[in-house]
Amino acid sequence: MADVIDHPSRAAATPPDTRAATGYNFAYLDEQTKRMIRRAILKGVAIPGYQVPFGSREMPLPYGWGTGGIQVTAAVIGPDDTLKVIDQGADDTTNAVNIRSFFAKTAGVATTERTTEASVIQTRHRIPETPLTEDQILVYQVPIPEPLRWLEPREAETRKMHALEEYGAMHVSLYEDIARYGRIIKSYNYPVKVNDRYVMAPSPIPKFDNPKMDRMPALQLFGAGREKRIYAVPPYTKVKSLDFEDHPFTVESWEQSCALCGAGDSYLDEVVTDDKGGKMFVCSDSDYCEQRRDAGHQGDGGDSNYATRNEIPENETSSGDDR
């Protein structure tokens, strides 16, 4: 097999990267496939929220691990780009590390963990806390692109519902939540309406991140590999979370702030620290947390009173908090 085929602009842009694998085209996919994906992306951008079918390729990782996101990233990334990959907000999880090294090898692009330094960010389940800019592209990995899927199993019918803007059923599911639990309990993949037209699944991001999608300066691209769909939200596009007038959309809030950096405005993960009831809440966005700590912010190191409140003997509770 031939050596790596250089991207036309590559030689001028970066010196040959020794990490790059040989035998692959730039960014793994062949140029024809990338053109096909770019055409789908352009159509998606032209019709915000509309799901464009595309010929999803077999990728060297299983469905559900980000095959759609990888293909979109491969189609938009250039040799000058800097890639950041996050999984549940963290840069150091298996999925994120491997996708990052995949592109470091097949495209030889620079990678980073800093949100502000990245030009392309591929994400699974989160939007970075740091506001994105016009110079950035956010690529989402999407498992199920069809927001109406659980209400209407027939694909032909859901397409017709989108075409005719028949979104009553979507509110039926929200009605059910309120009738049963007194509030809308859907907390992730919360359906949104894009540009006052298409109802869209924002991928399984927490609803905490939904407001960030609204009029975001960065281009947002969504790739679903198994379902073979691409959709997009262009910069500065209106994205509204569905709700009722008397039950407006709200995001999660926490009583705690981040145990490590003290942030009170970020999405927090609950981390169990020992087997004696010790736990703490930390930023799910690892880069955001690190930047804040570098800037001198400090958290309270966790909820030291948790164990006492739950009446576990005092002498057994220390281990979780002495960091």
Partner: protein, 265 residues
């Protein structure tokens, strides 16, 4: 010559002309035509396989007939052919100005969401985004079909057959339709439940002035509910007229047979 508008005949709500539907070589129904006026209840009777349901599907826009036209008096644009209007408009019509009550409530209900959501779905589909309002409408309609309000959040599959049928009616009437199609609404229910349901349908149709097409094989149902009657056999209408007239003085041999086959109690 001018006619005093008071004495003008109202224009028909539904104009059906020459409906023929073929399933390959087999004929479902042949050359059926009628006018339906606002507030009128039309019964279609006949034995199994006589083309009743085929006809109902054709005139309610669920299936395009091989030949013929179905024109509906829309609120804003007068008579429009059902199969020549855009699909978007037809579907909007079907979920606002029309109601369809199916023989099997499973076809007409969303079985996996609560009774209240079933009733509220049409309201949400036409843009109602106020939970409190949707809820109170649902309560109101469940009361009007004589259902227990305490069961508003229960799933339809926990209801009895009669209750499911009443829920289906409430779900259809919530947008105050002008025309309701019913396909065997009482079959599969025992006689006492049937009687209550018929009583309810009769009351609602009268008070709301809904035009109605009821397909049934039960002559008792049409005797009670419908103003006019069409008798079908082998895909064709063999006799039609006022209900009492057709049932008390049947002319066609098949109608005579049908009327004489009612079991006396």
């Amino acid at each position: 010559m001018t006619v005093d508008p008071v004495f003008q005949r109202p224009s028909p709500l539904l104009q059906v002309r020459g409906i023929t539907h073929r399933y390959g070589h087999h004929i479902g129904c042949r050359d059926v035509g009628f006018d339906l006026y606002p507030g009128e209840v039309l019964g279609i009777v006949g034995e199994s396989g006589s083309g009743k349901t085929t006809l109902l599907k054709c005139i309610s826009g669920q299936m395009e007939p091989s030949e013929g036209s179905v024109e509906y008096q829309t609120r804003d644009a007068g008579l429009i052919d059902l199969f020549r209007m855009s699909e978007a408009r037809r579907r909007l019509l079907m979920r606002t100005d029309w109601g369809i009550v199916y023989q099997n409530p499973r076809d007409g209900l969303r079985m996996r969401v609560s009774a209240g959501a079933n009733v509220g779905e049409r309201l949400m589909a036409i843009g109602d985004r106020h939970y409190g309002h949707i809820r109170s409408e649902a309560v109101d309609w469940l009361e009007r079909v004589e259902m227990d309000i305490g069961r508003i959040d229960d799933m339809p599959h926990t209801f009895s057959g009669g209750m499911q049928q009443r829920l289906q009616i409430a779900r259809n009437l919530v947008t105050k339709p002008r025309l309701v199609f019913m396909d065997e609404p009482t079959s599969g229910l025992d006689v006492s439940v049937q009687a209550r349901l018929l009583d309810l349908i009769r009351g609602l149709v009268r008070t709301l002035g809904i035009a109605c097409v009821i397909v049934t094989h039960d002559l008792g149902v049409v005797r009670l509910l419908s103003h006019r009657l069409m008798v079908m056999k082998g895909g064709s209408v063999v006799e039609s007229g006022l209900t009492d007239q057709v049932l008390d003085d049947p002319q066609h041999p098949y109608t005579q047979l049908l009327v004489s086959s009612i079991l006396p109690v």
